[in-house]
């Protein structure tokens, strides 16, 4: 299996869509889609994410890998497929600024890992809270690039508390990587260093909200 993961990962790093799809197609008849996703797609994406963290791979590769995996997974496991994970309702958003790359990567990686989630796109605090309430979101992933946007999460957390919402907040983005105490300062429940970490962080939080 490791050879398959290596080949798949190499195809992703080379942005070779056709080869990546062929590798998955070759295994779809012998593996259950969820098992294929967890054993090949998720493992490859996690290794690429770790490689970005240690400086081996570039963000452009992380992004393109996520996009390719999202496309591949949609072909073997459509969004409405009952085999998609039984999960609490989740959403992802960018708070305040127009830098959406991080959000797009995490969205792709979670979907490529078999999760379903709503994409709130770019929102301000009040709009975000209203949508969380309306959609009964249990896990909210917030991506930011700018420090002032990160600090606004304090306000989100306060409103959640004041209104009795038990929605868990997962944060990610440059300010949190540059200051490892910031996620706790803003009141988040978890922080992802890399996009691929979101998969395991969501798994852990799912136990708290189920």
């Amino acid at each position: 299996m490791m050879n398959v993961v290596n080949d798949f990962m190499q195809a992703l790093l080379n942005v070779d869509r056709l080869l990546a799809k062929k590798i998955i197609d070759d295994h779809v008849s012998i593996m259950h889609p969820i098992q294929l996703i967890e054993d090949i797609v998720v493992v490859a994406l996690e290794r690429i994410g770790t490689g970005w963290q240690d400086g081996t791979y570039a963000l452009s590769q992380v992004y393109m890998s996520g996009r390719i995996c999202e496309e591949v997974v949609d072909t073997i496991l459509p969004p409405s497929d009952p085999d998609r994970k039984d999960q609490p309702k989740m959403a992802i958003c960018v708070l305040s600024d127009h830098h959406k790359l991080g959000k797009t990567i995490v969205y792709s990686l979670l979907r490529a890992s078999g999760f379903e989630l709503l994409d709130f796109d770019i929102v301000e605090v009040n709009d975000m809270v209203a949508r969380v309430k309306e959609q009964k979101i249990k896990i909210l992933l917030i991506s930011v690039l700018m420090l002032p946007s990160a600090l606004k999460i304090k306000k989100v957390k306060k409103i959640f508390k004041d209104e009795g919402l038990d929605t868990k907040i997962i944060v990610g983005g440059a300010p949190f990587r540059f200051d490892d105490q910031l996620w706790q300062e803003v009141g988040a429940d978890a922080m992802c260093e890399t996009a691929s970490e979101a998969v395991s962080v969501v798994h852990n939080l799912m136990e708290c909200v189920s």
């Binding site: 963000l59 452009s60 305040s96 127009h98 700018m146 600090l151 440059a174 300010p175 540059f178 200051d179």
Partner: protein
Amino acid sequence: MIKNQMTSLQRVMATLGHNEADRVPFFLLATMHGAKELGMSIKEYFSKPENVVEGQLKLRAKYRHDCIYNFYYAPIEIEAWGGEVIYSDDGPPNSGAPFIRSFDDIKKLQAPLIDEVPCLKKVLKSTQILKEKIGDDAPIIGVVMSPFSLPIMQMGFDKYIELMYEAPDLFNILITINEEFCIRWANAQLKAGATAICYFDPVSSTTISTKEMYLKTGFKIAKRTIGRIDGPTATHMASGRCLPIVENLIQTGTAVLGVSWQEDVRQLKTVCQNKISVLGNLNGVEMRRWTPEKAEEEVKKAISKAGSGGGFILSDNHGEIPFQVPDDVLMAISEAVHKWGQYPLHWLSDYRQTR
């Protein structure tokens, strides 16, 4: 030249020549703190060139640093192209929705003319006034976004990466337009009185691009662009990593390299020694919650790693100090560099033994 009588400009020139000056030069790359000094909002502050002049002069008088940083905010170039800028009370103005909405928009794109754009004229005006006021006492740093990095704000990061991989012809068209704009914008600032140009190029960093892609794109673009800028440049990675491409960055002809706290400044200095000067690399985001003692320790650590032999300017790692960094921390950084940055660095051997 008596070392302890150096002006800031002389100090910087000495270090760029890879010699030890009277002390380690210190660039406080603060933009928004000028508004705080003048007691006005960030939006009001950037509305008039006279405010930026006064803010920069007040900051330099207060913190005794070695440059004037005539940088307004990153999306000022986007404003020039007709894009949206969103102001905030506690952070840098941010770019709004990208104005290149589809790849086809690139085909009809036209760069703005510098002389016809009010926001760029403001920058040129403050450059002129600053030059009149400080003469050759300190370098005035102008700023451009590299042609390779500007598209992040022009079209959004995700679409830009897709353009690079999937539409190389349109990528080349966009870069050609951006190169001409960047060169004209840099040279206009130099003509107005800027001493050097900071060439922000985070997309070239290995945090964002692979080395292979950089050599095909950002490297060639920087070489062409920097070659046509009529003055010295400092290439800034804006927190991105660059160790694997340092040799290539040197070949672009740039004089200074702005580096990230995520890389070891000692290792960077070793690779750069006598070839290119290093600018950096205090962690600006973390700086927000430093104590004055922590600030002093971080300054000592950076100087101990990279100060020897010149070729090093102490600064933050991003090229913009967050608005939330308190004045006492900035003051502690300034006092520490004035105390521990004096050449020769006699304290180093004892310090290293205790590490």
